[in-house]
Protein backbone atom coordinates (compact mmCIF):
# COMPACT_ATOMS: atom_id res chain seq x y z
CA UNK A 1 0.00 0.00 0.00
CA UNK A 2 1.20 3.42 -0.85
CA UNK A 3 1.44 5.75 2.07
CA UNK A 4 2.66 9.26 1.58
CA UNK A 5 3.92 10.85 4.71
CA UNK A 6 4.64 14.56 4.63
CA UNK A 7 8.26 15.46 4.49
CA UNK A 8 9.34 16.45 7.92
CA UNK A 9 9.46 20.20 8.09
CA UNK A 10 11.95 19.90 10.92
CA UNK A 11 14.63 19.63 8.28
CA UNK A 12 13.94 23.12 7.09
CA UNK A 13 16.66 25.69 7.06
CA UNK A 14 16.33 28.20 9.82
CA UNK A 15 14.69 25.84 12.25
CA UNK A 16 16.15 25.59 15.65
CA UNK A 17 18.36 22.74 16.72
CA UNK A 18 15.95 21.03 19.06
CA UNK A 19 13.68 20.32 16.13
CA UNK A 20 16.40 18.28 14.56
CA UNK A 21 16.67 16.04 17.58
CA UNK A 22 16.42 12.31 16.79
CA UNK A 23 13.04 12.13 18.51
CA UNK A 24 11.55 14.19 15.70
CA UNK A 25 12.50 11.59 13.17
CA UNK A 26 10.39 8.82 14.57
CA UNK A 27 7.08 10.53 13.93
CA UNK A 28 6.30 8.29 10.95
CA UNK A 29 4.61 5.90 13.34
CA UNK A 30 2.75 8.71 15.12
CA UNK A 31 1.33 10.39 12.03
CA UNK A 32 -2.06 9.03 11.03
CA UNK A 33 -1.58 6.90 7.93
CA UNK A 34 -3.20 8.33 4.83
CA UNK A 35 -5.69 6.36 2.85
CA UNK A 36 -4.45 4.70 -0.29
CA UNK A 37 -4.79 7.56 -2.78
CA UNK A 38 -4.48 5.25 -5.77
CA UNK A 39 -7.48 3.23 -4.63
CA UNK A 40 -9.51 6.34 -3.99
CA UNK A 41 -8.91 7.55 -7.53
CA UNK A 42 -9.80 4.09 -8.83
CA UNK A 43 -13.04 4.22 -6.82
CA UNK A 44 -13.93 7.50 -8.53
CA UNK A 45 -13.13 6.02 -11.92
CA UNK A 46 -15.11 2.82 -11.40
CA UNK A 47 -18.19 3.99 -9.47
CA UNK A 48 -18.04 7.79 -9.17
CA UNK A 49 -17.40 7.34 -5.48
CA UNK A 50 -18.09 10.72 -3.87
CA UNK A 51 -16.81 9.59 -0.53
CA UNK A 52 -13.45 8.77 -2.07
CA UNK A 53 -13.50 12.17 -3.75
CA UNK A 54 -14.17 13.91 -0.44
CA UNK A 55 -11.15 12.22 1.11
CA UNK A 56 -8.93 13.25 -1.76
CA UNK A 57 -10.32 16.78 -1.65
CA UNK A 58 -9.73 17.15 2.05
CA UNK A 59 -6.12 16.16 1.79
CA UNK A 60 -5.07 17.57 -1.55
CA UNK A 61 -7.17 20.70 -2.19
CA UNK A 62 -5.57 22.74 0.64
CA UNK A 63 -2.09 21.65 -0.44
CA UNK A 64 -2.76 22.32 -4.10
CA UNK A 65 -3.96 25.75 -3.00
CA UNK A 66 -0.66 26.34 -1.24
CA UNK A 67 1.14 25.27 -4.40
CA UNK A 68 -0.74 27.84 -6.50
CA UNK A 69 -0.23 30.58 -3.95
CA UNK A 70 3.48 29.91 -3.87
CA UNK A 71 3.48 30.06 -7.65
CA UNK A 72 2.26 33.63 -7.36
CA UNK A 73 -1.53 33.28 -7.54
CA UNK A 74 -3.71 35.45 -5.31
CA UNK A 75 -5.64 33.73 -2.54
CA UNK A 76 -8.89 33.80 -4.51
CA UNK A 77 -7.27 32.61 -7.72
CA UNK A 78 -5.41 29.84 -5.90
CA UNK A 79 -8.69 28.67 -4.41
CA UNK A 80 -10.31 28.64 -7.83
CA UNK A 81 -7.40 26.75 -9.39
CA UNK A 82 -7.42 24.23 -6.54
CA UNK A 83 -11.13 23.66 -7.25
CA UNK A 84 -10.36 23.17 -10.94
CA UNK A 85 -7.60 20.71 -10.08
CA UNK A 86 -9.91 18.62 -7.95
CA UNK A 87 -12.65 18.77 -10.58
CA UNK A 88 -10.13 17.47 -13.11
CA UNK A 89 -9.20 14.65 -10.72
CA UNK A 90 -12.89 13.70 -10.70
CA UNK A 91 -13.36 13.93 -14.43
CA UNK A 92 -10.13 12.28 -15.49
CA UNK A 93 -9.97 9.60 -12.81
CA UNK A 94 -10.44 6.91 -15.44
CA UNK A 95 -7.26 8.07 -17.16
CA UNK A 96 -5.19 7.61 -14.03
CA UNK A 97 -2.80 4.70 -14.38
CA UNK A 98 -1.27 3.70 -11.04
CA UNK A 99 1.39 1.71 -12.87
CA UNK A 100 2.58 4.80 -14.62
CA UNK A 101 2.56 7.38 -11.86
CA UNK A 102 1.65 7.72 -8.23
CA UNK A 103 -1.50 9.57 -7.20
CA UNK A 104 0.30 12.61 -5.86
CA UNK A 105 2.49 12.84 -8.97
CA UNK A 106 -0.64 12.66 -11.13
CA UNK A 107 -2.39 15.38 -9.14
CA UNK A 108 0.78 17.44 -9.24
CA UNK A 109 0.84 17.17 -13.05
CA UNK A 110 -2.81 18.27 -13.25
CA UNK A 111 -2.08 21.29 -11.06
CA UNK A 112 1.08 22.11 -12.97
CA UNK A 113 -0.80 22.10 -16.28
CA UNK A 114 -3.53 24.32 -14.88
CA UNK A 115 -0.91 26.70 -13.53
CA UNK A 116 0.73 26.99 -16.95
CA UNK A 117 -2.68 27.41 -18.55
CA UNK A 118 -3.58 30.21 -16.12
CA UNK A 119 -0.25 31.90 -16.68
CA UNK A 120 -0.70 31.85 -20.45
CA UNK A 121 -4.29 33.07 -20.31
CA UNK A 122 -3.08 36.02 -18.33
CA UNK A 123 -0.63 36.91 -21.04
CA UNK A 124 -2.58 35.98 -24.12
CA UNK A 125 -6.24 36.12 -23.26
CA UNK A 126 -8.71 33.31 -22.97
CA UNK A 127 -7.84 31.34 -26.07
CA UNK A 128 -5.77 28.66 -24.38
CA UNK A 129 -6.99 25.22 -23.47
CA UNK A 130 -5.37 23.12 -20.87
CA UNK A 131 -5.46 20.20 -23.30
CA UNK A 132 -2.80 22.05 -25.27
CA UNK A 133 -0.54 21.94 -22.25
CA UNK A 134 -1.33 18.30 -21.61
CA UNK A 135 -0.22 17.56 -25.15
CA UNK A 136 3.06 19.35 -24.48
CA UNK A 137 3.87 16.96 -21.69
CA UNK A 138 2.70 13.85 -23.50
CA UNK A 139 5.80 13.67 -25.60
CA UNK A 140 5.66 10.03 -26.40
CA UNK A 141 3.11 7.36 -25.70
CA UNK A 142 5.54 4.49 -25.99
CA UNK A 143 6.02 2.70 -22.69
CA UNK A 144 9.26 3.23 -20.87
CA UNK A 145 11.60 0.27 -20.70
CA UNK A 146 11.80 0.37 -16.93
CA UNK A 147 8.42 1.10 -15.44
CA UNK A 148 9.62 0.37 -11.95
CA UNK A 149 10.75 3.97 -11.83
CA UNK A 150 7.20 5.16 -11.64
CA UNK A 151 5.99 2.54 -9.25
CA UNK A 152 4.72 3.21 -5.78
CA UNK A 153 7.98 1.84 -4.53
CA UNK A 154 9.92 4.51 -6.33
CA UNK A 155 7.59 7.13 -4.86
CA UNK A 156 8.58 5.88 -1.45
CA UNK A 157 12.22 6.01 -2.45
CA UNK A 158 11.82 9.58 -3.67
CA UNK A 159 10.20 10.54 -0.40
CA UNK A 160 12.95 8.93 1.62
CA UNK A 161 15.60 10.55 -0.56
CA UNK A 162 13.95 13.95 -0.10
CA UNK A 163 13.84 13.43 3.65
CA UNK A 164 17.50 12.64 3.67
CA UNK A 165 18.48 15.73 1.73
CA UNK A 166 19.92 18.52 3.80
CA UNK A 167 17.34 21.21 4.47
CA UNK A 168 19.15 23.84 2.42
CA UNK A 169 19.05 21.60 -0.65
CA UNK A 170 15.36 20.79 -0.23
CA UNK A 171 14.59 24.49 0.02
CA UNK A 172 16.40 25.22 -3.22
CA UNK A 173 14.58 22.38 -5.01
CA UNK A 174 11.24 23.67 -3.80
CA UNK A 175 11.92 27.27 -4.69
CA UNK A 176 13.34 26.42 -8.05
CA UNK A 177 10.94 23.80 -9.28
CA UNK A 178 7.72 24.49 -7.54
CA UNK A 179 7.65 28.18 -6.89
CA UNK A 180 8.99 29.24 -10.24
CA UNK A 181 11.79 31.32 -8.90
CA UNK A 182 14.71 32.14 -11.11
CA UNK A 183 18.07 31.12 -9.68
CA UNK A 184 19.04 34.74 -9.12
CA UNK A 185 15.80 35.35 -7.20
CA UNK A 186 16.48 32.34 -5.00
CA UNK A 187 19.92 33.68 -4.28
CA UNK A 188 18.26 36.90 -3.12
CA UNK A 189 15.62 35.15 -1.01
CA UNK A 190 18.11 32.90 0.76
CA UNK A 191 20.89 35.47 0.83
CA UNK A 192 23.42 33.14 -0.79
CA UNK A 193 25.55 33.54 -3.92
CA UNK A 194 24.14 32.43 -7.27
CA UNK A 195 26.82 29.76 -7.58
CA UNK A 196 25.70 28.23 -4.30
CA UNK A 197 22.10 28.04 -5.52
CA UNK A 198 23.24 26.17 -8.59
CA UNK A 199 25.55 23.81 -6.74
CA UNK A 200 22.91 22.97 -4.11
CA UNK A 201 20.44 22.24 -6.85
CA UNK A 202 22.88 20.00 -8.63
CA UNK A 203 23.75 18.15 -5.43
CA UNK A 204 20.09 17.63 -4.59
CA UNK A 205 19.25 16.29 -8.01
CA UNK A 206 22.25 14.00 -8.06
CA UNK A 207 21.15 12.57 -4.74
CA UNK A 208 17.65 12.02 -6.08
CA UNK A 209 19.00 10.35 -9.19
CA UNK A 210 21.10 8.01 -7.10
CA UNK A 211 18.12 7.24 -4.87
CA UNK A 212 16.13 6.37 -7.97
CA UNK A 213 18.85 4.01 -9.06
CA UNK A 214 19.21 6.00 -12.25
CA UNK A 215 22.37 6.02 -14.25
CA UNK A 216 23.73 9.54 -14.22
Amino acid sequence: MLVIVPIKRSRRAGNSDEELSPAMHTDDCVAAPHPDWNRLIAAIAVRQDRDAFRKLFEYFAPRVKTYFQRSGASEAHAEELAQETMLTVWRKASLFDPNSSGASAWIFAIGRNLRIDAFRRERRGGAIQVSEIEAEFKVDEAPLPDMSLASAQSETRVRVALEQLPADQVRVVELSFFEEKAHAEIAGILGIPLGTVKSRLRLAINRLRIALGEPT
Binding site: F53, S101, A103, L212
Partner: protein
Amino acid sequence: MTLQHHPDDCTLAAFAAGTLDLGEHVAIATHLVGCSQCRGFVRAMEGVGGTVLASLPPTPMSADALLQLEARLSDTSEPQQTESMPPISDTGIPSLPKFVRQYRMGGWQWVAPRVRLRRIDLPVPSKTRVFLLRSGPGTRMLQHSHTGVEMTCVLAGAFEHEGGYFGPGDFDLGDETIDHRPIVKGREDCICLVAMRGDLRLEGLLGRLIQPFVRL
Protein backbone atom coordinates in the same frame (compact mmCIF):
# COMPACT_ATOMS: atom_id res chain seq x y z
CA MET B 1 21.04 3.19 -30.68
CA THR B 2 22.25 4.88 -27.56
CA LEU B 3 22.16 8.61 -27.34
CA GLN B 4 25.34 10.24 -26.22
CA HIS B 5 24.30 13.74 -25.28
CA HIS B 6 21.46 14.61 -22.95
CA PRO B 7 20.03 17.73 -21.31
CA ASP B 8 21.32 18.27 -17.79
CA ASP B 9 19.29 17.08 -14.82
CA CYS B 10 18.32 20.56 -13.67
CA THR B 11 16.76 21.37 -17.03
CA LEU B 12 14.89 18.05 -17.08
CA ALA B 13 13.65 18.74 -13.57
CA ALA B 14 12.51 22.22 -14.59
CA PHE B 15 10.69 20.63 -17.53
CA ALA B 16 8.86 18.30 -15.14
CA ALA B 17 8.03 21.22 -12.86
CA GLY B 18 6.61 23.07 -15.84
CA THR B 19 8.79 26.10 -15.29
CA LEU B 20 10.66 26.16 -18.60
CA ASP B 21 9.97 28.79 -21.17
CA LEU B 22 7.85 27.28 -23.97
CA GLY B 23 10.67 27.46 -26.52
CA GLU B 24 12.98 25.54 -24.21
CA HIS B 25 10.15 23.19 -23.35
CA VAL B 26 9.83 22.38 -27.06
CA ALA B 27 13.55 21.58 -27.30
CA ILE B 28 13.48 19.27 -24.29
CA ALA B 29 10.27 17.58 -25.46
CA THR B 30 11.93 16.94 -28.81
CA HIS B 31 14.80 15.19 -27.10
CA LEU B 32 12.40 13.18 -24.93
CA VAL B 33 10.63 11.73 -27.98
CA GLY B 34 13.75 9.70 -28.67
CA CYS B 35 15.18 9.26 -25.20
CA SER B 36 13.46 6.86 -22.83
CA GLN B 37 16.18 7.37 -20.25
CA CYS B 38 15.42 11.08 -19.89
CA ARG B 39 11.68 10.38 -20.05
CA GLY B 40 12.12 8.09 -17.08
CA PHE B 41 13.94 10.80 -15.19
CA VAL B 42 11.28 13.39 -16.02
CA ARG B 43 8.61 11.03 -14.77
CA ALA B 44 10.58 10.46 -11.61
CA MET B 45 10.85 14.22 -11.14
CA GLU B 46 7.07 14.46 -11.48
CA GLY B 47 7.07 11.97 -8.63
CA VAL B 48 9.25 14.39 -6.69
CA GLY B 49 6.72 17.11 -7.55
CA GLY B 50 3.95 14.93 -6.16
CA THR B 51 5.88 14.22 -3.00
CA VAL B 52 6.60 17.90 -2.48
CA LEU B 53 2.95 18.74 -3.17
CA ALA B 54 1.73 16.17 -0.66
CA SER B 55 4.06 17.61 1.95
CA LEU B 56 3.13 21.27 1.52
CA PRO B 57 1.49 22.92 4.50
CA PRO B 58 -2.27 23.11 3.81
CA THR B 59 -3.98 26.44 3.17
CA PRO B 60 -7.59 26.17 4.30
CA MET B 61 -10.14 26.18 1.49
CA SER B 62 -13.22 28.34 1.97
CA ALA B 63 -15.89 26.72 4.12
CA ASP B 64 -18.25 25.86 1.28
CA ALA B 65 -15.60 24.88 -1.25
CA LEU B 66 -16.32 21.17 -1.12
CA LEU B 67 -20.08 21.68 -1.31
CA GLN B 68 -19.74 23.99 -4.29
CA LEU B 69 -17.51 21.53 -6.04
CA GLU B 70 -19.76 18.56 -5.30
CA ALA B 71 -22.60 20.41 -6.99
CA ARG B 72 -20.45 20.59 -10.11
CA LEU B 73 -19.41 16.93 -10.14
CA SER B 74 -22.55 15.61 -11.79
CA ASP B 75 -23.08 18.71 -13.87
CA THR B 76 -22.39 17.71 -17.43
CA SER B 77 -23.56 21.03 -18.88
CA GLU B 78 -20.19 22.60 -18.19
CA PRO B 79 -17.98 22.74 -21.21
CA GLN B 80 -15.79 19.68 -21.15
CA GLN B 81 -12.35 19.70 -22.57
CA THR B 82 -12.77 18.57 -26.11
CA GLU B 83 -10.11 16.90 -28.11
CA SER B 84 -10.41 19.41 -30.92
CA MET B 85 -6.78 19.72 -31.79
CA PRO B 86 -5.72 21.56 -34.89
CA PRO B 87 -4.60 19.32 -37.72
CA ILE B 88 -1.10 18.02 -37.47
CA SER B 89 1.11 19.07 -40.31
CA ASP B 90 3.35 16.49 -41.84
CA THR B 91 6.84 17.88 -41.74
CA GLY B 92 8.36 14.58 -42.75
CA ILE B 93 10.20 14.65 -39.43
CA PRO B 94 8.71 11.98 -37.18
CA SER B 95 10.98 12.87 -34.28
CA LEU B 96 9.28 16.23 -33.93
CA PRO B 97 6.76 16.00 -31.06
CA LYS B 98 3.14 15.95 -32.22
CA PHE B 99 2.24 19.12 -30.35
CA VAL B 100 4.97 21.03 -32.16
CA ARG B 101 3.58 19.96 -35.51
CA GLN B 102 0.38 21.78 -34.62
CA TYR B 103 2.21 25.07 -34.52
CA ARG B 104 2.37 27.35 -37.46
CA MET B 105 5.63 27.15 -39.34
CA GLY B 106 7.17 29.43 -41.87
CA GLY B 107 8.62 28.17 -45.13
CA TRP B 108 12.24 27.16 -45.49
CA GLN B 109 14.30 30.33 -45.68
CA TRP B 110 17.65 30.57 -47.37
CA VAL B 111 20.37 31.51 -44.92
CA ALA B 112 23.60 30.59 -46.65
CA PRO B 113 24.60 28.14 -49.36
CA ARG B 114 23.14 24.78 -48.37
CA VAL B 115 21.81 26.15 -45.09
CA ARG B 116 18.10 26.71 -44.63
CA LEU B 117 16.02 27.72 -41.73
CA ARG B 118 12.36 27.26 -40.92
CA ARG B 119 10.75 29.29 -38.19
CA ILE B 120 8.31 27.69 -35.76
CA ASP B 121 5.71 30.13 -34.43
CA LEU B 122 5.02 29.40 -30.81
CA PRO B 123 1.41 29.93 -29.77
CA VAL B 124 2.36 32.00 -26.74
CA PRO B 125 4.99 34.69 -26.33
CA SER B 126 8.29 33.08 -25.48
CA LYS B 127 11.69 34.41 -24.65
CA THR B 128 13.05 31.67 -26.83
CA ARG B 129 12.96 31.50 -30.61
CA VAL B 130 12.52 28.08 -32.10
CA PHE B 131 13.45 27.07 -35.61
CA LEU B 132 14.51 24.13 -37.71
CA LEU B 133 17.90 24.35 -39.29
CA ARG B 134 18.81 22.26 -42.28
CA SER B 135 22.42 22.10 -43.36
CA GLY B 136 23.97 20.19 -46.25
CA PRO B 137 26.75 17.62 -45.86
CA GLY B 138 30.13 19.13 -45.09
CA THR B 139 28.78 22.59 -44.36
CA ARG B 140 29.63 24.47 -41.26
CA MET B 141 26.36 25.04 -39.55
CA LEU B 142 25.33 28.64 -39.11
CA GLN B 143 28.33 30.26 -37.48
CA HIS B 144 26.98 32.60 -34.94
CA SER B 145 27.17 33.86 -31.46
CA HIS B 146 24.28 34.61 -29.19
CA THR B 147 23.63 36.33 -25.94
CA GLY B 148 21.80 33.52 -24.19
CA VAL B 149 21.50 29.77 -24.06
CA GLU B 150 20.87 27.75 -27.14
CA MET B 151 19.45 24.24 -27.17
CA THR B 152 19.91 22.05 -30.21
CA CYS B 153 18.26 18.69 -30.90
CA VAL B 154 19.42 16.61 -33.82
CA LEU B 155 16.42 15.36 -35.77
CA ALA B 156 18.26 13.81 -38.71
CA GLY B 157 21.82 13.54 -39.89
CA ALA B 158 24.72 14.45 -37.64
CA PHE B 159 27.19 17.16 -36.76
CA GLU B 160 30.41 17.32 -34.87
CA HIS B 161 32.27 19.95 -32.87
CA GLU B 162 34.82 20.01 -30.06
CA GLY B 163 32.11 18.70 -27.72
CA GLY B 164 31.75 15.46 -29.67
CA TYR B 165 29.65 13.77 -32.32
CA PHE B 166 25.91 14.49 -32.31
CA GLY B 167 23.57 12.08 -34.09
CA PRO B 168 19.76 11.85 -34.25
CA GLY B 169 18.20 12.35 -30.82
CA ASP B 170 21.27 13.95 -29.30
CA PHE B 171 20.94 17.20 -27.40
CA ASP B 172 23.46 20.02 -27.33
CA LEU B 173 23.52 23.02 -25.05
CA GLY B 174 25.47 26.12 -25.89
CA ASP B 175 25.79 29.43 -24.15
CA GLU B 176 27.50 32.70 -24.84
CA THR B 177 30.79 31.35 -23.54
CA ILE B 178 30.94 28.51 -26.03
CA ASP B 179 32.09 29.14 -29.55
CA HIS B 180 31.31 25.91 -31.29
CA ARG B 181 31.80 25.52 -34.99
CA PRO B 182 29.78 22.46 -35.83
CA ILE B 183 30.43 20.69 -39.11
CA VAL B 184 27.78 18.50 -40.70
CA LYS B 185 28.96 14.89 -40.90
CA GLY B 186 27.90 12.13 -43.23
CA ARG B 187 26.11 12.33 -46.55
CA GLU B 188 22.74 13.35 -45.25
CA ASP B 189 21.43 16.81 -44.57
CA CYS B 190 21.58 17.57 -40.90
CA ILE B 191 18.25 18.81 -39.54
CA CYS B 192 18.16 20.26 -36.06
CA LEU B 193 15.58 21.90 -33.90
CA VAL B 194 17.11 24.92 -32.25
CA ALA B 195 15.70 26.88 -29.32
CA MET B 196 17.61 30.07 -28.80
CA ARG B 197 17.32 32.67 -26.13
CA GLY B 198 18.76 36.08 -26.62
CA ASP B 199 19.88 37.74 -29.79
CA LEU B 200 21.41 35.94 -32.67
CA ARG B 201 24.50 37.39 -34.28
CA LEU B 202 25.71 35.79 -37.45
CA GLU B 203 29.45 35.74 -37.79
CA GLY B 204 31.71 36.40 -40.69
CA LEU B 205 31.35 38.68 -43.68
CA LEU B 206 28.55 36.60 -45.20
CA GLY B 207 26.77 36.53 -41.87
CA ARG B 208 26.91 40.29 -41.55
CA LEU B 209 25.62 40.67 -45.06
CA ILE B 210 22.63 38.41 -44.60
CA GLN B 211 21.86 39.37 -41.02
CA PRO B 212 19.25 41.96 -42.02
CA PHE B 213 17.37 39.31 -44.00
CA VAL B 214 17.31 36.64 -41.36
CA ARG B 215 14.32 37.64 -39.32
CA LEU B 216 13.92 35.07 -36.64
